[in-house]
């Protein structure tokens, strides 16, 4: 919240005298609300610390409801709805189960005490269970103490050391090889434009800083000589696809893609944002992009040289139809961020909280993370809404945290791991760790990966009746 009082002291984590936990319960109309009613008509006494907010279904539970409750002073949030199989709307609670599971993982990774955020299945007849759930949760939150203000931690909070990702598993390609691929790319692009097979080619060209490569759009064969390819071509150009497709006129859009970029195309196709036939993918053989003098972290674990989606593969010898890998042995090692995530998760939650709050405190709310994300294509972002306003606009702990939670959750199960958000963040917030943590969770729980067939629905818009959960 914007600072209104003189004091900058955060709320103490040690309970003040007379402090009582405040718990917001977001419950479904058909089961838990009736269950709570049942507890009342049965004259059941239980902790009076819960304020109930009735939703028609837990499927309506937006994670931002929870964020708002915490930011407005709740010490704990309890969500509760019908048992699996009992949903008044057949499947709302099953969708909620997936979403809440992923959201809990995110909040846990951000350092929120697990005791503060719980989910319980309570049916209309389970007045006794409701009373027990509330009593247990109240006790748990009482032990956890008052929730500290969402704001920057003390400047002295130690930052966990960044782990050394170790030696790069492979070399940058030679200049000569990049040069040959560049020549073939220019020729291919010029031909496609000359033959009218595409109306524009989005690729890379030299930028104005030394060694910098930037997005470039070529619409005439003679301009194709501007295009180039090397290990500095970091941008994911699929972010431009919606705009290019709107303006393309009659031809198709040619797009130079690395294999990681192309996964964003799968995401857009999965969400019906793209007709694959409108795009000609020029796959470039990528051995990894270099970021600040070393191999980008996302490239350590990548063993894919050319996207399997490519329509044409640009090799040093010429363009070939379809995806085509060189015979080169490609060394992939484990993603160094998995060790970083494990190190963070081994810390006590308060240390993790401070780690993230320190980074979120730096957030400039420039929304570069959203602007470069190929999957952030909404015409109006939740961050721009102010009636109601779910994300405080102020550049402070509360607003920045809400924004970063919303971004991570909206990309959960949709993020393709291109890491563009983390690359462009001027405040060096480790958005890649947030994305990766959620991707790992979603893969282990729901068996979904970003490179899944585009006919598979996004994992948080679907469910299996036997999805795992640890809810009460």
């Amino acid at each position: 919240m914007v600072q209104l009082a003189e004091s900058k002291e955060p709320r103490p984590r040690v309970p003040e005298k007379g402090w009582e936990p405040r718990i917001v319960a977001l419950v479904c109309n058909w089961c838990t609300y009736a269950g709570a009613d049942m507890a009342g008509t049965a004259r059941r006494t239980y902790a009076p610390n819960v304020r109930i907010i009735r939703l028609l279904c837990t499927g309506r539970l937006d994670p931002l409801f929870v964020v708002k409750a915490f930011q407005q002073g709740a010490d704990g949030v309890l969500a509760s709805g019908c048992h699996p199989g009992d949903c008044h709307y057949v499947q709302g609670n099953l969708l909620a189960r997936r979403r809440f599971t992923v959201f809990s993982t995110l909040m846990d990774f951000l350092g929120l005490d697990r005791r503060r955020l719980q989910f319980a299945w309570v049916s209309a007849s389970e007045g006794v269970k409701w009373a027990r759930v509330v009593d247990e949760m109240t006790q748990a939150v009482r032990e956890a103490g008052p929730l500290a203000t969402w704001a920057a931690p003390a400047a002295t909070a130690p930052s966990p050391p960044l782990l050394d990702p170790g030696a790069e598993p492979r070399q940058a390609p030679s200049r000569e090889e990049s040069g040959r691929i560049t020549a073939q790319l220019q020729e291919t692009a010029a031909n496609l434009l000359a033959e009218g097979k595409v109306s524009v080619v989005a690729g890379y060209a030299s930028g104005s800083l030394p060694g910098q490569m930037v997005p470039a759009f070529v619409t005439a064969p003679e301009e194709a000589s501007r295009l180039a390819w090397n290990e500095r071509c970091a941008n994911n150009l699929t972010v431009y696809l919606p705009e290019l497709l709107r303006k393309k006129g009659t031809g198709k859009v040619g797009l130079v893609v690395k294999s990681c970029d192309a996964r964003a195309l799968l995401g857009l196709m999965r969400e019906s944002q793209l007709d694959r036939a409108d795009v000609v993918l020029l796959g470039v053989p990528c051995t990894g992009v270099w970021d600040g003098g070393r191999l980008a972290l996302k490239c350590y674990g990548c063993s894919e040289e050319v996207s399997p989606l490519a329509d044409l593969t640009i090799t040093p010898e010429g363009a070939r139809q379809g995806p085509l890998a060189s015979a080169r042995e490609r060394v992939a090692v484990s993603d160094p961020r998995d060790a970083e995530i494990a190190a963070l998760e081994s810390l006590p939650p308060e240390a993790r909280w401070d780690y993230w709050q320190r980074q979120f405190a730096r957030c400039l709310r420039c929304y570069a993370c959203k602007a470069v994300c190929p999957l952030c294509y909404c015409a109006t972002c939740i961050a721009e809404k102010h009636r109601p306003q779910w994300i405080p606009a102020a550049f402070d702990g509360a607003g920045n945290t809400a924004w970063n939670i919303a971004r991570a959750m909206h990309l959960a199960g949709r993020c393709v791991g291109c890491d563009e958000c983390a690359r462009v963040c001027p405040a060096d917030i480790r958005l890649d760790l947030l994305n990766r943590r959620l991707a790992l969770e979603i893969e282990s729980r729901f068996g979904y990966r970003a490179d899944a067939d585009p006919s598979a629905p996004p994992p948080l818009t679907t469910f299996r009746p036997d999805d795992p959960d640890e809810f009460a």
Binding site: M1, L364, A394
Partner: protein, 395 residues
């Protein structure tokens, strides 16, 4: 009923001296703010050769005197301006420039203008929290100091902004001349210099391991501690070396000038189709404006709920999609290229035309370095000028 405490009531409540009629400054204070640059910039008669130990000790003295000290620190591998609690936190090691400018210490990213609280049938309005006393901004590169001077023009000269003026009045700026230029630096192309004095009260000039400290304004001179009597006065050789380094850095910035005289031509290039191309790459984030030392646009929003909250002034950026969207839904700058054009023309055409030929860009190069898609404002200005001058494609 609405009750709002006046600035004077508020000052009284906080035990601060009450100024005549609202926030008006004295004649003398006002004159000084009008043009801080006019005061004794060429005081070359006095200067000291100081080592790291001496300036750290001096910063310690400033902190003990109760001033807030803002200086570059290292945080998670980034160099950032932060209020420090000890001189030991100040990190100038390997410091080219901070990731973003220090403007937040004069023009906060979020500033409560007043607070409101619902009390039954009444609404109580309150003045914002008082914001500290004296502050010293230490270690600003000359481009950033010049950037703050541009903010002065916006917030003091185009109608005085009370909260900015109060903060500015309590702020002294110690700049640190550059000993090297980064690839994105272009201060010399926009009328600045690696040892530029605009906006600085004091300045440190690098001298191969030591520094030459000079006072540039009376405010700066007041900051020089009594212990300076024990410092070594700068020798003629020191001044010469400082000048040599300045020239060397200046020469290493190989950029042709972006002249303020181009402003009318650039303004005339408004309708050029070229903007479509220049802005095509823009993805519509706000990095460029938020890291910029001279961007001053803001939005006003209410933060809080129906019962209590605050009306806040928040940074805004002309490249963000909501910047000019009207309540009706209409947007006079509906596309990213049209928004990017506004950014370029405001800095290089509209502002100089309204402010005696001064550019609203100080050449720190942060926007060039941090743009996610590598847009270079220097290139855009040059190309728009050429197109405007040749009149090609003019409708």
């Amino acid at each position: 009923m609405i009750r709002m405490s006046s600035p004077n009531e508020f000052a009284q409540e906080k035990g601060r001296p009450v100024k005549g009629e609202g926030w008006r400054l004295s004649e003398e204070e006002y004159e000084r703010l009008q043009d801080p640059r006019s005061v004794g910039l060429d005081v070359r008669s006095e200067g000291w050769r100081v080592g790291e130990e001496e300036w750290r000790e001096w910063l310690g003295t400033l902190l003990r005197s109760g001033s807030r000290l803002v200086a570059p620190v290292e945080e998670d591998g980034l160099s950032l301006f932060r209020a420090v609690s000890s001189a030991a936190e100040v990190s100038l090691r390997g410091y080219g420039n901070t990731r973003w400018s220090p403007k937040e210490f004069l023009f906060p990213a979020t500033e409560a203008l007043f607070s409101y609280r619902l009390l039954g049938d009444e609404v109580e309005l309150g003045a914002p929290p008082a914001d500290g006393g004296e502050q010293v901004l230490f270690g600003l590169r000359p481009c950033d100091a010049a950037g703050l001077a541009r903010l002065d023009e916006i917030f003091l000269e185009d109608g005085e902004d009370p909260s900015y003026a109060a903060r500015r009045d309590r702020t002294a700026i110690v700049s640190l001349a550059c000993d090297t230029a980064r690839p994105e630096c272009f201060c010399t192309a926009v009328g600045g210099s690696p040892a530029g004095t605009e906006g600085s009260d004091l300045q440190l000039l690098p001298l191969d391991g030591a520094w030459l400290l000079r006072a540039l304004t009376p405010k700066g001179a007041q900051l020089v501690p009594a212990s300076a009597a024990g410092w070594t006065p700068a020798s003629a050789a020191d001044w010469r070396r400082a000048e040599e380094l300045r020239l060397a850095v200046e020469e290493s910035i190989e950029r042709d000038p972006l002249s303020p005289e181009w402003a009318p031509v650039l303004e005339g290039a408004f309708a050029q189709p070229l903007w479509e191309e220049l802005g095509q790459r823009c993805v519509g984030c706000g990095v460029c404006a938020y890291v910029c030392p001279s961007c001053s646009c803001f939005d006003v929003k209410d933060e809080g709920d129906a019962f209590c909250g605050a009306r806040c002034r928040l940074w805004d950026s002309c490249t963000l999609p909501q910047f000019t969207r009207h309540a009706s839904g209409h947007d006079p700058r509906p596309t990213r290229p049209s928004r990017y054009r506004q950014r370029v023309l405001h800095k290089f055409a509209y502002f100089p035309l309204q402010h005696g030929g001064r550019l609203m860009c100080v050449g720190c190069g942060r926007c060039v370095r941090l743009c996610p898609v590598g847009i270079d404002i220097r290139e855009s200005v040059e190309r728009a000028f050429s197109a405007g001058a040749s009149g090609e494609g003019r409708p």
